[in-house]
Amino acid sequence: MKDIFRVRRMWRQPGELKRRYDVVIVGGGSHGLATAYYLAKRHGITDVCILEKSYIGSGASGRNTTIIRANYRTPEGAAFYRESVALYERLSAELDFNLMFSQHGHLTLAHSDRGMVVSQERAEVNKLLGIKSEVIGPARIRELCPQLDLSDRPAYPIMGALYHPPGGIIRHDAVVWGFARAADRLGVEIHPYTEVTGLERDGDRITAVETTRGRVEAGQVVSATAGWSSLVAGLAGMRLPITTHILQAFVTEPVKPFLDVVIVSGQLHVYVSQTDRGEFLIGAEIEPYTTYKGTGTLSFLEYSARHVLELFPQLERVKVLRTWTGLCDLSPDYSPILGKTEIDNFHLSAGWGTYGFKAAPIVGVTLAELVATGKTPELIAPFALERFHTDTLVSELAAAAVSH
């Protein structure tokens, strides 16, 4: 409480870059910052610097859906995100920074019996792993979210939902700032406006990182750059199984509390939640073509608006206020690419698609462990880049098609 009166810097003003760091982290988003924090906190490795080409949290960390959940389809994915949610639940206290984790539950609506089967499949995996997740019918949906149009008026009537009570939304910027502050206080250096322009490679190792502010030698290098992952890996001469796409979202003008739970519809390709500020946060799918250009599209706004009103016709006169886009790094199986690469001291957090933010703390914990010990934690072993070379994928992508 006393903190609210005292004006204290969240993090130190960045100084000059040193000539060498034990660990150089490329990307000052939630993953890079979390990794740095856990390196320092759990492993005592503090000779760490974070290189961020813009301001911290300027990429996907500050542009995502803010949705946190663990109800994934694969046992590998669900177990991983389960740990992430558990960490998020304790994170405000651990970082002494209120991340405003609003855990009011998460509903994935089904509008077809195929949608119901997909929900059921996730619920079954989740339950076995101890994740609260169940398929519910319209009556229970009405209790949880009476505002939803559960009649048969909508073009896509709601048949049921996958209900995930621990799901919710969080203040995404706060996560970035909380990790940054904590990492900084443990001695990690954060260097915003420092872009990596080259990776010096000597055989199986990266020896140094070139930046717009000079060259730094590195014991180990971690890349956590989401949509830009292919470009950073490219500096080390590596190709990745990733394509970069834009994801768009918007908020409306703030209104009084209307919606507690997070609503997602797979079939309508839209999600909606209401922030603590009162804005509705609405988004849809990624754009199907690859691009690094972050301008939004009108068709996205039109499509999302149309589909939100299918769910909540009451909102037709609520006004769209602000739109934005972010870059997503999409992997072929919708599972992340996390951990070691073929370059001995170059580690990767990439391929998150639209799921990255949900994983920030557990990425930090596991990557820090990998960097500190050289051993891949069991939890992330299935997500190694190598799986694309051995062709053993982890499909978060239930085939959308259903036939006959």
């Binding site: 830009w228 470009l231 199984p241 970069t244 073509y289 690859t290 250009k293 072929p332 070379h389 051995t390």
Partner: protein
Amino acid sequence: MSFLLPCPHCGPRPVDEYACFGEVTTRPAGESPSLRDLTEYVYFRDNVAGVQREWWQHRDGCGEWFLAERDTRTNEVLSISEPEPAPPV
């Protein structure tokens, strides 16, 4: 609506009318490539921030497939061309 992509037959149209098949890849030639060559082709991509040669189909228009060179940093389309080898007439 997003950027306009020129169809060789229908002229510039919003990108939403098209299906995109991504960057042009090279299928491993020869009898049996190694698993690595195969997976490089199936999964790995250049994903350049710059000019990319890619496949498009004017799904909602004439239906034809064609190739475009597009700068992924600006979405500017520098050139379009019909597939090689051109379908025999």
